[in-house]
């Protein structure tokens, strides 16, 4: 018994696959960057605003919704009927859905990280006459970044891998291209091996970076 591997049938799809990889990267980077920044802001707002518990509960509710459901929500939302505007592109919907998911995850991390910033460090800063804004800028935020970064990188990798959900709403990412190619060439195994390889190349550097970070001295500079 033997299986006759044949990747050559995908040669004509080279450009389409590369474009797919680029779409995957674009969706991931936009979602991760916008989601992380928004999450930081949200976490700080939950912390500083009144009714913290209510905000946190709402955040938990949003966090419970799966990414694919968010994608469908933004994709099938009746924009025209509700706001009188054109429906958003599949790409925008993918970034919104994945970004929102990243944002509520980040907000939750940041919210609880504020509590874990050493009071001793803050007292040390106060005792020298430093004001709250300087304390946030130089001590609290750097500490929150150290606390949350390892978990955050894990989620970034998750977003990168789950960005392929966007193919369901029609984004032409690498998975979408593979689906089209297998439909035309019937070499399913090869196609998915190829896609798997592409993801390994994309994800592995992040995993290795996360491991280096975990072992780094920089991360230990917390009290």
């Amino acid at each position: 018994m033997s299986y006759d591997w044949d990747f050559s049938v995908f040669a004509p799809y080279r450009v389409a696959l590369l474009r797919g990889v680029w779409v995957t990267i674009e969706i991931s980077v936009f979602s991760i960057v916008s989601g992380t920044l928004a999450g930081f802001a949200l976490g700080a707002i939950y912390r500083l605003a009144p009714l913290q518990r209510v905000w946190l509960f709402l955040n938990d509710v949003l966090r419970a919704v799966p990414m694919l459901v968010w994608l469908f929500f933004f994709f099938f939302f009746p924009y025209k009927e509700m706001f009188g505007i054109k429906p958003l592109s599949a790409f925008t919907c993918a970034v919104l859905g994945l970004g929102l998911s990243q944002a509520v995850f980040t907000a939750d991390l940041v919210y609880s990280a504020v509590d874990r910033v050493s009071q001793r460090t803050i007292l040390g800063a106060r005792s020298l006459g430093l004001r709250d804004n300087a304390i946030w800028r130089h001590l609290i935020i750097p500490d929150i970044i150290r606390q949350t970064l390892p978990a955050m990188i894990g989620y970034w990798i998750g977003v990168l891998k789950l960005s392929n959900l966007s193919s369901v709403i029609g984004c032409e990412d690498v998975v979408f291209v593979a689906q089209v190619a297998t439909g035309q060439r019937f070499r399913t195994l090869e196609a998915w091996v190829l896609v798997a390889l592409i993801y390994v190349i994309l994800v592995l550097p992040m995993t290795l970076a996360a491991r280096r970070l975990d072992e780094s001295e920089w991360l230990k500079r917390r009290s």
């Binding site: 001793r120 040390g124 106060r126 005792s127 020298l128 006459g129 917390r222």
Partner: protein, 259 residues
């Protein structure tokens, strides 16, 4: 007849009160410290020594009393008259646990407040940091992070960070507690050397300690804090033999053996 010179106290505390709920920690503290004076506050643990320092540095709010510095009131009825950060930058506290900034090098630990509070330029701040660090013997530590320092080095860095600000009042809260005897000697030497730096001759130093010998050697006067009040205050050198009140005598009887 020679005229008696009356030295106005630089730091004057009157009727300072503090309570946690129903528990009265400080019940009307009166203290005077002369310019350049060092006052040691001794007492049992839980007697309110650290609370007193925190109130002086506005890290905790007092419920009553006045505190004057150079004749200017900064705490009135326990409430700060100026912005708390402004008072803190002139009445600086050094802690038992150092309370350094773990994410910053030794140098940055020192320059952060110089730049942000004293508004010095980066280079000037660095120069000052190097000057004082040299006096305290920690110049080679400036490139290291707090987690790479020994207890004695970390404590000297904490002192350095406070001293470069040239505060009017320096409060030292049990700074020898986490150190071994040899390191304490280093730190005591370091504190002595700081007097010669710039404007520090007139600086008032208030220390809280449980080491009687440290208090006797380092301070001019010692105050015994008991039941939320200054029970007895005497010149440091004669405190052990001249204290009068039975509670003070009972307290010092444990310290016949130094350290």
């Amino acid at each position: 007849m020679a005229e008696a010179t009356v030295i106005e106290p630089r730091l004057r505390v009157r009727g300072l009160r503090h309570q946690y709920g129903d528990h009265h920690v400080l019940e009307g503290i009166d203290l005077d410290v002369a310019p350049g004076g060092t006052l040691a506050i001794v007492g049992r643990s839980g007697s309110g020594k650290s609370t007193l320092l925190r109130c002086l540095c506005v890290l905790e709010e007092a419920q009553g009393g006045h505190v004057d510095l150079d004749g200017q009131t900064y705490l009135r009825n326990g409430k700060p008259v100026f912005e708390p950060w402004e008072i803190r930058s002139n009445s600086v506290m050094v802690f038992q646990e150092y309370n350094l900034f773990p994410n910053m090098t030794g140098l940055r630990n020192i320059t952060l407040a110089l730049e942000n509070v004293r508004k010095l330029g980066r280079q000037e701040a660095k120069d000052r940091a190097h000057d004082v660090a040299k006096m305290l013997g920690i110049e080679q530590m400036l490139g290291r992070y707090p987690n790479q320092m020994s207890g004695g080095q970390a404590q000297r860095l904490a002192l350095c960070r406070a001293l470069v600000l040239e505060p009017a009042v320096l409060c030292l809260d049990e700074i020898t507690a986490a150190l071994d005897a040899e390191t304490i000697v280093d730190v005591v030497d370091a504190i002595r050397s700081i007097r010669s730096y710039r404007e520090n001759k007139r600086m008032v130093v208030v220390i809280v300690t449980h080491l009687m010998r440290f208090a006797v050697e380092f301070a001019d006067r010692i105050a015994y804090l008991f039941q939320g009040q200054i029970w007895e205050e005497l010149p440091a050198k004669s405190f052990l033999i001249n204290c009068q009140r039975p509670e003070t005598q009972h307290f010092v009887s444990k310290f016949r053996v130094p350290f």
